[in-house]
């Protein structure tokens, strides 16, 4: 079995946003040369997520709005204290929780060199604490 690994960078531009990374993932699969197997997409942060949904703006807004409703800023979070290992205050508990809701990874099948997706499935990198320069990894395994 062959394993192909790439670490990709991404610049988020807003505090919260969904960034469509479907084409980037397809590009890694193509570069891997692997024809049949699986592809894993994994974020490298605890205040970002990876999710899959329909690639239209209204739904992207609904997902952001829903994450804000489910994990609101300004609640009485334990994390809101000085973190001596970080040199900063932990003022972003809501971002960690939003990231947890979206999850940190997704997996797709690879068949005949293509990512097997439903017609409406898009892969998103979810920023919950931006703007920041972020990283995620794409790992392709197969033959």
């Amino acid at each position: 079995m062959k394993v192909h690994f790439e670490e990709l960078g991404i610049q988020s531009k807003r505090e919260m946003e969904l960034i469509n990374i479907t084409d980037e993932v397809k590009g890694v699969v193509e570069r891997s040369g692997i024809k049949n197997g699986i592809v894993n997409v994994i974020t490298m942060h605890t205040t970002t997520g990876i999710t899959v949904n329909e690639g239209i703006g209204c739904l992207e807004e609904d997902i952001v709005d829903t994450l804000e409703r489910l994990a609101p800023e300004g609640l009485d979070y334990h994390h809101a204290r000085y973190l001596d290992f970080d040199g900063r205050l932990g003022v972003n508990a809501h971002c960690h929780l939003r990231s947890m809701i979206t999850g940190m990874h997704t997996t797709f099948a690879v068949k005949d060199g293509e990512v097997v997706r439903g017609g409406r499935q898009n892969i998103y990198f979810v920023e919950t604490d931006g703007p920041l320069y972020r990283k995620y990894v794409v790992q392709v395994m197969g033959e």
């Binding site: 300004g74 900063r88 205050l89």
Partner: protein, 285 residues
């Protein structure tokens, strides 16, 4: 909007040119975030409407054996910022060359103010040996941003950071504009008293030591001193400062706005007072 208190200590472009800078930031400044490209700094400003940010370095050559950053690196960042940055200089007040170093940073590098930090630079603001630095700053017509109150840097003591130690400086140099950074927390009442008595003393809002920005500023500016003191009495001397990247700029903007100042007071805090302090010309009507 102007943010008078930022530390560009994690800019990737500077790290790429100075291989030892990240270690110095980690050890001396005690900030463990990952470096970010300059674009992130611009975007942090953009999402909350900040047009210009003051960049504050620290020259702690005698006390810590380094500069974070050098005045030359600040000048480089100002150039890279294409109008978004206002660079302040820092000099080591323990060195006899400090006044001349300051003059060179202003005249040769175009820097617009002076940053000093008594805790990390290990001096007392009222010690006579530092007065030639204030005198030169006053002659040059530039303001002084003085770290005051609690700081997170390891080995940085609280005692020399008491706002009251600036009284002798304010009296001796009445033309010198001095900002008590972080509002001098926890000595908020002391800071307010100095501002009431000396019109050349300013303070910035970059005060966050527990809880969330909204909770901490609400406590500081409604329980420690009434919000009305700023709205009515200190409105011409308080400036917005974030302390980015110890905290995201937008979170401090939201926290200051949540205090419920009038539109007039907000305009002074977010822009006009900074223009007056830095010397950027006429304020808007």
């Amino acid at each position: 909007m102007i943010d008078v208190h930022t530390h560009p200590v994690l800019v990737q472009e500077i790290m790429d040119r100075d291989g030892d800078m990240l270690r110095k930031v980690r050890e001396v400044f005690d900030l463990q975030n990952r470096p970010q490209p300059l674009e992130t700094f611009f975007l942090q400003m953009e999402v909350c409407g900040v047009d210009r940010s003051v960049l504050l370095p620290i020259d702690c050559t005698t006390s810590r054996g380094c500069k974070i950053y050098s005045n030359e690196q600040i000048a480089q960042l100002v150039e890279m910022g294409e109008g978004k940055f206002i660079g302040f200089a820092s000099v080591d007040p323990q060195l006899g060359t400090a006044p001349d170093d300051l003059e060179s940073a202003v005249k040769d590098l175009g820097l617009a103010g002076l940053k000093l930090a008594p805790g990390i630079q290990e001096f007392r603001p009222d010690q006579p040996s530092v007065f030639p630095v204030y005198e030169r700053a006053s002659e040059l017509g530039i303001p002084v941003m003085m770290h005051s109150g609690l700081s997170w840097e390891p080995g940085s003591r609280l005692e020399p950071c008491r706002p009251l130690l600036l009284e002798r400086v304010a009296v001796k140099f009445p033309e010198l504009r001095i900002c008590i950074a972080h509002f001098g927390w926890p000595w908020i009442m002391e800071t307010a008293a100095l501002m009431m008595k000396y019109p050349n003393i300013y303070a910035d809002t970059s005060c966050l030591y527990a809880d969330t920005p909204m909770e901490f500023l609400s406590f500081t500016f409604s329980s420690q001193i009434p919000t009305t003191w700023i709205e009515r009495t200190l409105r011409n001397q308080v400036m917005f400062g974030s302390n980015y990247p110890r905290i995201e700029t937008v979170k401090m903007v939201d926290a200051v706005r949540s205090l419920g100042f009038s539109r007039g007071a907000e305009r002074l805090i977010f822009e006009d007072n900074a223009k007056k302090f830095i010397g950027l010309g006429e304020v808007s009507d």
